[in-house]
Amino acid sequence: MSVLLNQDTKVIVQGITGRIGSVQTRWMLSYHTKVVGGVTPGKGGGTVEGLPVFDSVEEAVKETGANASVFFVPAAFTMDAFFETVDAGIGLIVVVPEHVPVHDVLRMRAYARERGAFALGPTTPGVLVPGVGKMGIMPAAMFAPGRVGVISRSGTLSYEFAGILSESSVGQSTVVGMGADPVVLTNLPDLLKLFEEDRDTDAVIIVGEVGGEQEERAADMIGNMQKPVSAYIAGKFSPQGKRMGHAGAIVRGSSGTVDAKHAALAAAGATILESPIDVAEWASAHNLS
């Protein structure tokens, strides 16, 4: 098996008729992902890349048996599409768009939790399982099958880490983009739990960045994990690290700096990677190739 995406995942693409949606559908298909259709309201009845386009998610689910969806819809329409998708009973939603309003994300997150849907993003490259398929925009060239899991807050850094691993003959079990926004639909500890439970994953790499509290709040989970964990935090010299305002962090005394994250992660037993390239050595030390 793998995390989130597997042989039974049947994917629809929302916003499939758009410029990016249609191109990415082609890339997903060429990576052998089971894409079964798409949705663009008002364009139902057409086809893209030979796949049927529907007016509504409900219809798409009924006609194709889809159980997962990846979004290429404009940021302003994302909340609408999200509620529709959850209502249609889709269990896995990958929200690729960036610039989704944070207040919308709060509501999407609450909506998904109340109804038991699992979602990644916004601003996520998606999820990729080498040899099985991908939902999102990850470039296939960087990935190779194997037994290391990667969870990344940054899209591009997830490619970087997968690329470095692949070059070192260390394959990946599943690579997951958490999403780069200040509020994401699924928190880091919940993703770590999936990898800890995945029989095809032997170790996990966290690719974090300055700001927020995801890494600090994952410490408890990491402390309880059997599998080795390493972590890289970008933004030591960042001039802009999104400060979420002191009042929020103050509640729990977190500060969101790289140093604070390093301290919390190291205390929990994770190996700190000073530079992405260090991941190769770590993988080799843990015989992960």
């Binding site: 309003p101 207040h103 994300v105 609450a110 591009t156 200040p182 030591k236 010299f237 960042s238 390239i277």
Partner: protein
Amino acid sequence: MRLHEHEAADLFEKAGIAVPRRGVAETTEDALRIGEDLGYPLLVKAQVLVGGRGLAGGIRTVDSPDRMAEAADALLGSEIKGLAVRKVLVSDKVDISRELYLGITMDGFDGRPVIVVSTEGGVNIEETAGKHPEKIAAVHADPGASFQPYEARNLLRKVGIAGKLLVACADVVVKLYRVFTRYEALIAEINPLVVTAQGGVAAVDAVLEIDDSAASGLGEAAPDRLSRYENPIERKGREIGVTYVDLDGDIGLISSGAGLGMASMDIIGRRMKPANFLETGGGITEKLLYQCMELLMMKRGLRGIFINIYGGINPIHEGARGVVRYMEEHGLGIPVVAKALGNLQEETWEIFRSGGVHVVTEAATEKAVDRLFEILSNNAR
């Protein structure tokens, strides 16, 4: 986007929160005229988007036109923490009997807004959290639901606020929460929330940071977003749709993601100094990277350029064409190293190479930065 104090104060007042009488001045004459209208004593506050303004001398009390002229002359056109003071807020000096703190922000991990109150106002909430955590209370609000006065009263009672003040403060909390949701804010803060000698409650400072992604946000009240970028390259970056942050090094950087950009800076920073942070997001076109090159070259004294892009959602081959076209048209005279991987990477490499760009095909940014360092070292020899 963080609003200036005077902009935030206007929105708070519109929402029904009491804010001292005030005016905004760009010249000493304006400040004097406002002073005449309001009557002394008054506060003169530099309008700069930075914390710790008071300690840096950005807030002055004046009790006469002479002092007003002195203060306005001193502040207007000066710099506070590196930011130019273009405006001052002239505001009634309220008789203060007590100072409270009220802040609302996003709890990103919880996925809910958190409302924080404290009986210690006028100081950093972090400081209070360290010294007197018992003087702070916080509660989460449900996204999508309203925040009711009784919830505010329950919160305020935790820090011992009672009687008429309980009702008056709860009213401010509810109104500030309405501002927070209405304008899709990331931070809304009143510090201090002042209890006046007359028993009223007034917002003596006003902080409001709006989510840049929230289109609906300010509506007609929206200040010109571009105008807040005081650095001309940063403003230009915003115009073309990329995030550019000016730094004081000499290695230009173009990256196709924020994480990759930060990591690139971290790696460059070990042996060299980045001149900027630039991330394109997912909108790369030939034109955009041409413009990114223009942007980078607006800065004097660059020694080299590092391009670090991935072809996931981005058509990197198109981006490469833009870079090469710029180089052909302008003849840079400094080395460009590019790491470009992902979809259509081979086409991209070919285009880069055709324009004289040094292409690194390994995944690790470290290797590409090494290459640039070597080239610059060789050139220097």
